[in-house]
Amino acid sequence: MYTEKVMDHFENPRNVGEIENPDGVGQVGNPTCGDIMKIYLKVKDNVIEDVKFKTFGCGAAIATSSMVTEMVKGKSLDEALKISNKMVAEALGGLPPKKMHCSNLAADALQAAIQDYMDKQEKK
């Protein structure tokens, strides 16, 4: 049911883990519904220098988390903000219809992390 690309990201997820003292953190989902994604950002000069994730969820959830981190690493925040769930799914060669919402989660977690970074910047 999953594409080779999905399985590759599931088996060898990129950027798993946490960043100590991150510049931004985003978390979406909750354990009751069975999916949680957490994304950590390190930002320098408006560019995402480093990104890591932790995910509790299905295979698609793990693969989309991995893919989204790969897609934004080295990108400017403006570029990163343009990443939609559709783009994530496409980058993985597609997802089964039932699993499209998993890609939502990944994009949402990223947006949340960027928002968190921006909020923190404002407060400075």
Binding site: P31, T32, G34, M37, F56, G57, C58, G59, I62, H101
Partner: protein
């Protein structure tokens, strides 16, 4: 790659003996059993021989067996048929929260058509209590339908007690024995049920065929299919003759080998359960510790999610499932685990290992070797607090 099949509650391989018999049949004996001529009579003979085998396997008489397209049809047919004929007598149906969807969705659909439905809770082992059944009965109760053994957690229900309770109150009793048939010994007499469902593909027989036992004298009517007069007007449609032949053979062999299989399976299962629950942290057995199917082990692994475990196992050649095959495709956690009081986030981390006749202790060893690293890898990825 080593391939290990651990999903025998979802479906089983067809036994070579059964497949051979079906193939011979597919190629040679093709008549329509309703036809009067030679070809029809040859087919009819085999259908009736299969009916005798299935009847013998559950202690029924051949006339009490109706062949269907599978467990789902049998469940629908049993429940709908009892409801339809009794609707002037009463409108209350009792079932449990852990039934297969073929039962629970059928009962719920009747609930929208004017029937009153009681869905009984289960205890933490997935067990229905006989007292709860007794307390739920009203003078409008026309049907009790409670499964014999649960497909997701393997718990065996006290059907004998519920059956005699139902009988003492004059209430029709149906049980879905799809998972228990061929795995634990029983007869319809002993269980005291009026209707009982079995399915071919769960007992090393073919898919697309099942049977419904309808005790002589049971108030039931055909209410699903309209059409020809097959199966003594109890199930319209040309009989799936090779499937029926396969079901007959599979039933006969399942009962013949039941005792020895059960011992083999229990030895594997018990080692599996013991090792998994002692070697891996934050793991719990789901279902009843002793009143469970001999081939059934099911667990929850905290902090991680079921599908990702299944995919990881699959990459290592191990086929397992997380609950029923039906729910594997869905996003909600199992209704069975939730009914047992397991919290959502833990229910999401369920795995079911259901063993079969071809499994060996080496298969168990292989699983025990690959499972801990999978759990570790996924837990390392999990954002949930693990202290």
């Amino acid at each position: 790659m080593r391939r290990v099949y651990f999903d025998h509650s979802a479906t089983t391989p067809v036994r070579p003996d059964v497949a051979d018999e079906m193939c011979a049949f597919l190629k040679e004996n093709f008549g329509n059993p309703t036809s009067l001529h030679y070809f029809g009579r040859q087919a009819r003979k085999e259908v009736e021989a299969a009916r005798e085998k299935v009847a013998a396997a559950i202690g029924a008489t051949p006339n009490e067996i109706v062949f269907t397209s599978g467990g789902t049809e049998s469940d629908n047919m049993a429940i709908h048929g009892v409801a339809m004929i009794n609707k002037n007598k009463g409108n209350h149906i009792i079932t449990s929260a852990v039934e297969h969807h073929a039962v629970i969705n059928t009962v719920k659909a009747l609930g929208k058509e004017g029937f009153t439905v009681t869905i009984l809770p289960v205890d933490k082992y997935g067990m229905v209590s006989v007292d709860d059944v007794a307390a739920a009965i009203t003078d409008k109760t026309i049907l009790i339908t409670i499964m014999h053994a649960n497909n997701e957690v393997g718990t065996i229900m006290p059907i004998k007690e519920i059956g005699s309770l139902a009988r003492s109150k004059g209430i029709t009793m149906h049980t879905d024995a799809v998972q228990s048939f061929g795995k634990i010994p029983f007869s319809v007499e002993e269980l005291g049920v009026d209707l009982l469902t079995i399915s071919g593909h769960k007992i090393y027989g073919p898919k697309g065929v099942g049977a419904l036992y309808i005790r002589k004298g049971t108030r039931w009517k055909q209410s699903l299919f309209h059409g020809g007069a097959q199966e003594r007007l109890r199930r319209a449609g040309t009989e799936n003759v090779p499937g029926i032949v396969g079901l007959g053979k599979a039933a006969e062999l399942a009962i013949r080998d039941l005792q020895s299989e059960a011992e083999h399976l229990k030895a594997l299962r018990d080692r599996l359960i013991h090792e998994v629950t002692t070697k891996i942290d934050y793991v719990k057995l789901t279902g009843h510790p002793t009143m469970r199917l001999p081939n059934h082990a099911s667990f929850t692994f905290e902090f991680i999610e079921g599908e990702s475990m299944l995919l990881s196992l699959d990459l290592k050649g191990v086929a397992a499932s997380s609950g029923s095959a039906c729910t594997s495709g869905s996003l909600e956690p199992s209704h069975v685990l939730l009914a047992m009081g397991i919290p959502h986030e833990i229910a999401h981390g369920s795995i079911r290992i259901t063993l079969g006749r071809d499994n060996t202790m080496e298969d168990i060893d292989y699983f025990l070797e690959i499972m801990p690293p999978i759990v570790n890898r996924l837990r390392a990825m999990s954002p949930l607090d693990q202290e």
